[in-house]
């Protein structure tokens, strides 16, 4: 049994909470701080005095690159799981662009099993939409859905499902198992060899532009397709003011579209590219100040439903080179919450309870992760974490748990320090450090399936 006392919830209550058997077993609201520091718990070792700290349900990421199988030199399911838990995540979603591609039941089951073995968070595989991400033929979506990994989100992320007919078929086909197509919106013909946002900066520094219209034209097309066939559509990493306007329009018309924004697109702009440091090379690219503000407003008002990290680890040689030779992508799991706090809460655009909605409740709903994003009430699975909202921390790449160190926030001081994380009732972060997870958690395969029956 674990007791957490004096924690403040995002709606301002002071609560004490007990965890037993992987679940929240008791919640009491206290009118005053319990000055006994939880000493009335059965065992003081299993008690945390959370005075001054916020308690939140575990974060849920719908867009994570884990690189395993294939590029275990940059990240593994286990190292990404540690990074995830350090960032307050209790569920992540493994993107399909591995090697081999996650386009069969075999590969998604392998990734799923590795996640369970790591035991730091739920690892839910995303399946490829098309075989080998080639954009030519549907992958066996039904087989992945029926596998032990129970895949519901399908994405060719990194590549766009650019063929409109194939996109239509995919949107229709996944309805049989309430699936969702997550589109990486990038018209390939408008972005041949593109390196950065097309605009004033790209013109000056001579890098091939990635125009906003290449993203927006696909969003517009897919919204209309989703409307026509009555399917759910999810837009990955929206980056432009124009894309936001299209999604807002679609939602007003009642089209079933959801959208995500990454933390880095909420904070960074394309002028950072001026020195050609590939740490800022990412796809979709960093945009302008105007776009950043449109994204922040859209996240605040719910036009953009969720934050997703697009955590993209790369080994140092893929960033310690000239711009064009470098890989696209940034790691983000461990900085995500703090960057969102900095860009959304410190700027007074969003409340803590809306942050929980955007980073936990809603992503869990979209993906159908039933043990995630739940209220902190008796009977809910104990996926939750504590953070100190008044403390700050300095981002140091060497201290990241991720195997790759390609963070664009190196040296930046960020708000909100995560101190304790519980996944499935087991403490995975204590005093801001990763704790070895008891074997019982990693072997508890059945746990993840409880309540996941769909029919």
């Amino acid at each position: 049994m674990m007791k957490i006392s004096n924690a403040k919830t995002v709606d301002g209550k002071i609560i004490s909470l007990e965890i037993e058997n992987h679940l929240i077993s008791k919640v009491t609201e206290s009118s005053a701080i319990d000055e006994k520091n939880g000493l009335n718990a059965i065992n003081a070792i299993n008690a945390i005095n959370a005075k001054g700290k916020l308690i939140l349900p575990g974060l849920v990421d719908l867009h994570t690159h884990l690189r395993e199988p294939g590029r275990e030199d940059s990240e593994t399911v286990a190292s990404a799981s540690k990074a995830a838990t350090a960032g307050g995540y209790t569920a992540i979603s493994a993107m399909a662009n591995t090697n081999p591609v996650a386009d069969t039941a075999g590969v998604v089951e392998q990734v799923y099993r590795l996640g369970v073995e790591a035991g730091y968070c739920e690892v839910n595989p995303i399946g490829a939409v098309t075989k080998g991400l080639n954009g030519e033929q549907l992958a066996e979506l039904g087989a992945m859905a029926d596998s032990i990994a129970r895949v519901r989100i399908f994405s060719d992320d990194g590549k766009c499902v650019s063929d409109p007919l194939l996109m239509r078929r995919a949107l229709e086909y996944v309805k049989t198992f309430n699936g969702l197509i997550a589109q990486h919106a990038q018209d390939p013909r408008l972005t041949i060899n593109s390196q950065m946002n097309e605009g004033v900066i790209s013109s000056r520094i001579g890098l091939v532009g990635w125009p906003a219209v290449a993203e927006e034209s696909i969003i517009a097309r897919d919204i209309l397709l989703a409307d026509h066939v009555g399917s759910r559509l999810h837009i990955c990493h929206v980056t432009t003011a124009g894309g936001v306007a299209l999604i807002r329009w679609a939602k007003q018309r009642g089209i079933q579209v959801t959208a995500e924004v990454t933390p880095h697109h909420l904070l960074l702009t394309d002028d950072l590219v001026e020195n050609y440091d590939p740490i800022y090379k990412v796809n979709p690219p960093l945009r302008t100040e105007k776009d950043v503000w449109a994204l922040r407003e859209a996240l605040a008002d719910g036009t953009i439903d969720i934050v997703a990290t697009d955590h993209a680890p790369h080994p140092s040689e893929d960033k310690d080179c000239e711009w064009q030779a470098a890989a696209f992508g940034m790691v983000g799991l461990e900085t995500s919450l703090s960057v969102v706090v900095k860009s959304m809460i410190d700027s007074k655009l969003m409340s803590w309870s809306t942050l929980v909605e955007r980073m936990s409740t809603k992503p869990a709903q979209i993906a159908g992760y039933e043990k995630q994003g739940r209220d902190l009430t008796v009977g809910s699975p104990a996926n939750l974490f504590l953070l100190d909202p008044s403390a700050k921390w300095l981002v140091r790449r060497d201290r990241l748990n991720s195997k790759s160190k390609n963070t664009p926030f190196e040296g930046m001081e960020l708000p909100a320090v995560i101190t304790d994380v519980f996944y499935n009732g087991i403490q995975t972060i204590s005093d801001s450090k990763v704790v070895p997870v008891p074997i019982s958690n990693s072997l508890n395969l059945n746990f993840l399936h409880q309540g996941k029956d769909l029919n």
């Binding site: 004033v200 790209s202 013109s203 000056r204 520094i205 001579g206 020195n275 050609y276 064009q324 030779a325």
Partner: protein, 320 residues
């Protein structure tokens, strides 16, 4: 110069740029004499690190370095360790280990020279000899030198000179460097190109833009024709070679409308009959050969100032 490197024209103040031009003039005067060689950089090693084929620029830098008595090592990517997959970092460190004092780099990636200068990979001086579609600062300096010699020999700067640059602005490092330097030196610049070959951000550049060469041909003092690459046609930047030549080429008709005092420039190599007709290239107003000659003087000045030659003309501008 204030910086140890020359990466972009933006690294230079107006005074520093003019200082380089007068150093170049002084060096040209000396090496025009019977003894072309100066002992200034004896014992220094300069590496020409060329990842793209460019015989002209490489020979120009090589000549400049040799006239200053430096040792020159030519490294070209073809058939070298680079073709075996070696990274820019490892190539640069290898050359540094062999004792290079300066690296003159030509690279297909915009920003490659800047990366070499900004990272801790090497400590040598870096000179940008063309990076992707970004900049080619010594080309801009030699163009400014040529314009000044022909049109403003005794003036302080290039005030009042109207320069028209015609062609593939989008992909041109020559155009980017020239726009920055000519603006800095007081010249007025008009870019002429089809909209497909202009960057979307050109609206923020200190230039006028025209889609029609005939509107500006009789008003300019300098017309600079850029080389058009034929593969652009495959990518639909323009319909055909002949249509491009008709609309944007410097032909006999347009040549006849050019001011008698104007000069015709081209960074080379020329596509005769495409962006420039043979009679234009060979016209008395063409200064293309002067550009090549001035290229050596300007590159001598750059090497001289960056590698610590003693000032030869202190009044001319700021020296380090």
């Amino acid at each position: 110069m204030s910086s140890r490197h020359l990466i972009s024209v933006q690294d230079l103040s107006k005074a520093q740029a003019l200082g380089l031009l007068s150093t170049a003039k002084e060096l040209a005067r000396i090496t025009d004499g019977p003894n072309k060689k100066l002992p200034t950089l004896r014992g220094k090693s300069i590496v020409n690190l060329f990842f793209e084929d460019s015989t002209r620029t490489r020979i120009s830098f090589e000549t400049a370095a040799k006239r200053l008595s430096a040792d020159v090592i030519n490294f070209s990517a073809k058939g070298s360790s680079v073709s075996k997959g070696e990274s820019l970092k490892d190539t640069a460190q290898t050359l540094q280990a062999m004792g290079a004092d300066a690296v003159v780099i030509r690279h297909g990636s915009s920003g490659a020279a800047k990366r070499l200068a900004d990272t801790q990979w090497i400590s040598a001086t870096v000179i940008n000899a063309g990076d992707g579609t970004h900049e080619h600062p010594t080309q801009a300096l030699l163009d400014a030198f040529t314009i000044k010699e022909h049109l403003r020999a005794d003036a302080q700067d290039l005030s009042g000179v109207h320069v028209v640059i015609v062609g593939d602005i989008l992909h041109s490092r020559v155009a980017r460097s020239n726009v920055l330097l000519l603006d800095k030196l007081g010249a007025q610049v008009t870019l002429v190109a089809p909209p497909t070959l202009l960057p979307v951000g050109v609206t923020e550049w200190p230039v006028e833009v025209s889609y029609n060469l005939d509107d500006v041909i009789d008003k300019c003092d300098v017309i600079m024709m850029l080389r058009i690459q034929l593969e652009r046609m495959q990518d639909s930047y323009f319909p055909t070679e002949r249509e491009y030549a008709r609309r944007y080429g410097l032909n006999s008709n347009r040549l006849s409308r050019l001011k008698s005092t104007a000069i015709v420039m081209h960074p080379g190599p020329m596509n005769r009959g495409l962006e420039i007709s043979a009679d234009s290239a060979d016209d008395v107003r063409s200064v293309v050969v002067d550009q090549v000659k001035n290229g050596v003087s300007v590159r001598m000045a750059v090497l001289y100032e960056l590698l610590g030659g003693a000032p030869i003309n202190v009044e001319a501008g700021e020296k380090k």
